[in-house]
Symmetry: C2
Subunit: 405 residues, 2 copies
């Protein structure tokens, strides 16, 4: 049992995922069972809501809220990308915790949010304010360390895998008219989501044919040679391109208007990224037509295609945060630890917040092919269980081709 | 019963849809019941395959093909955008029909394809070659006349409606960081698919807030005023924008590099359309950040989100083509005729090919609001039954907002 009677403050932060509300549902359903947790407050727009004292009283939740949260996209509490830095903000937060008897703090988010979470945990410890702090991982980028993978990734990966194989069939059908399609996929620094584009591929003809990740330097000359080689063989080329591809000097490809965000990250254009730039390059250098598919925030919002495995794990990660409170555990992020073996299984674990805050987990070398333009079989093995139901085996008319008189 | 023993030639043409293969499945399953239809040949890449004598012998179909076609995206036979115009092509086709005893011809396609279909029908009639010709409508653009709607539209509309409401929730969650999102939606001349973006909207906060269709002249000054008004009220703006929006002179917005295709249509940039242009305009004139979601061919390929109603109707439309052969009917396109009444029901009808070839069906005035920036309730009533299962009612924390101490 938790040692103190008090209130729980929870927030969602950073870019939404299709299952970040499932983690909130996990926290709510578990917290209701703990008599020591009196009120549950949801910060409006993450830590900004805490600074403004604006919250939702989730204790008064309607009956069906937890159930609805399991399929509701985006962050129902609202999100933010606020970086805690000013001394007065820490004072404000401490005052808020004391005035409202906040003894339990949950933050659902990615790297930057785990940094916020860790700062709050340190603040409470340094100022001898008795409060337990647990982070719940969330990111379609799958770039948090220690955890095997992050809630949110499997669902976005499912969207990307389905979009690639299905729009790849579209390109193949239109090959007498269309030449190249570039699918520009989210992931500023880590290419996990772009790599997931391969998961529906069953044969050479299926998309994608080329995959470019931020983990490898992007070389325009090699890229054009790769595209030409596939085009000469198949008559069409489907490219899965991470929005975060960079040249050998670390500059984002085609990002001339780059600005920096609150966390100092260089931004990629929100209206036309590397895909549009490379489409023009292909047209200019190879003289072939290139389409760009750039679903943008649709890829991180599409709850209608959520992975069932991901929804379930996101919910369990939320529950685990409250279980850790019961066990007196604080200053950790919930992790999903994969149990080795042929059958996919995870168990819930934990990692110290200081070890995850601001640390990025990139795709390891053995998941990327030598040419740096595709993934390995090991990546398929790692990723396939995360996207839930298998990608359908679509019809192909193999061996039925004839020539009429 | 059909009067002649002979072979059936079938093709898919134009941009694919998630259910064009369901129509093929309908033709196959019905044709197998007709002893007069001996062989079923599927043209490789539409009429281009017929000109090259390259086909699939679908008579040898594997057992599970019809079932698989019901969920297989894009055109499994391959597609094309070839415009029949040369005299020698007509001779080639007539020779092919005669040499291979083609007595039944089915073409599944949109406006341009119905033009091809009509030309072939005329050719056979003029040259006294006894062949029945039936067109099966297919287009995500929903712009074929006479039919109440087109197979393919309902599924693409479902994708667009889900993408809008879900990525709209993403924008709303991120409103402390993001300002405007523009969803650029397919539809060169008719705005049906863009209009379908509204179908998940239940309240003012839900996306979209503004809808721009090719049926109305696009005015940049009015657009900026519209965006600013919503932004001042909500703090974020979700815009559903047809790729085909044009100014009062008929020029596509932001289409500087426009070229023309084989049918003489002016093309919209395949890499960055009006969305990217308007995002920069908003940034420049209003000083607020704008994201562009541009899923491109994903929106017409996503069989994973197909409307069950649409799959069923596409299959029935395919079956109907063969039924018309049995009834001695030729030179028609299958239509879906809506039966008036509170409950949604259609019956299969037909329209002369000459009345549908190259005729575009635009959104009628009573489906568009007076300001030209949204749709009317009548449009919801028309469109909602077409997208299959209802869009979920996602969680909102209405009335739970409080201020902490």
């Amino acid at each position: 049992m938790p040692k103190l009677k008090g209130n729980l403050l929870i927030g969602q932060s950073g870019g939404p995922t299709p299952v970040i509300n499932a983690s909130l549902a996990g926290v709510l359903s578990e917290a209701k069972k703990i008599p020591e947790i009196e009120k549950i407050y949801g910060m409006k727009n993450g830590i900004e809501g805490a600074l403004n004292k604006e919250v939702y009283d989730l204790t008064q939740e309607p009956e069906d809220l937890v159930k609805k949260l399991l399929y509701t996209p985006a962050s129902v509490l609202g999100s933010c990308r606020h970086k805690l830095s000013k001394d007065e903000e820490y004072e404000q937060l401490l005052d808020l915790f004391k005035a409202n008897n906040i003894r339990y703090f949950v933050y659902i988010g990615g790297n930057d949010s785990m940094d916020t979470c860790h700062k709050i945990s340190k603040l409470a410890q340094e100022r001898n304010y008795d409060m337990q702090v647990v982070g719940v991982p969330k990111t379609i980028d799958n770039d948090l360390p220690i955890t095997d993978h992050c809630p949110g990734f499997g669902s976005a990966a499912r969207f990307v895998a389905l979009s690639t194989i299905e729009s790849g069939r579209d390109l193949e059908a239109m090959k007498t008219f269309d030449d190249v399609a570039i699918f520009e996929i989210m992931g500023r620094h880590a290419g996990w989501l772009t790599a997931a584009s391969v998961l529906g591929k069953r044969c050479d003809e299926d998309a994608p044919h080329l995959v470019y990740l931020p983990e490898r330097n992007f070389d325009e000359v090699q890229f054009l040679a790769d595209v030409k080689a596939v085009y000469d063989k198949l008559g069409y080329v489907y490219v899965a391109l991470s929005e975060g591809v960079r040249d050998k000097d670390g500059e984002f490809i085609g990002a001339k208007d780059a600005a920096t965000d609150a966390f100092g990250h260089k931004a990629i254009s929100l209206s036309d990224g590397p895909g549009a730039y490379l489409a023009k390059l292909i047209k200019e250098k190879l003289g072939i037509k290139t389409r760009v598919n750039r679903p943008g925030t649709i890829q991180r919002a599409m709850a209608a295609l959520a992975s069932k495995t991901d929804v379930d794990e996101a919910f369990r990660a939320g529950q685990a945060a409250v279980e850790y409170f019961s066990q007196g555990i604080t200053d950790v992020m919930v992790t999903l630890d994969r149990i080795p073996g042929a059958e996919y299984k995870i168990e819930i674990g934990k990692a110290p917040l200081e070890k995850v805050a601001n640390v990025e987990n990139f795709i390891p070398d053995h998941f990327i092919n030598e040419a740096g333009n595709f993934v390995t079989k090991e990546f398929f093995d790692y990723c396939l269980p995360l996207i839930g139901d298998p990608i359908p085996d679509y019809a192909r008319l193999v061996g039925m081709s004839i020539k009429l008189k």
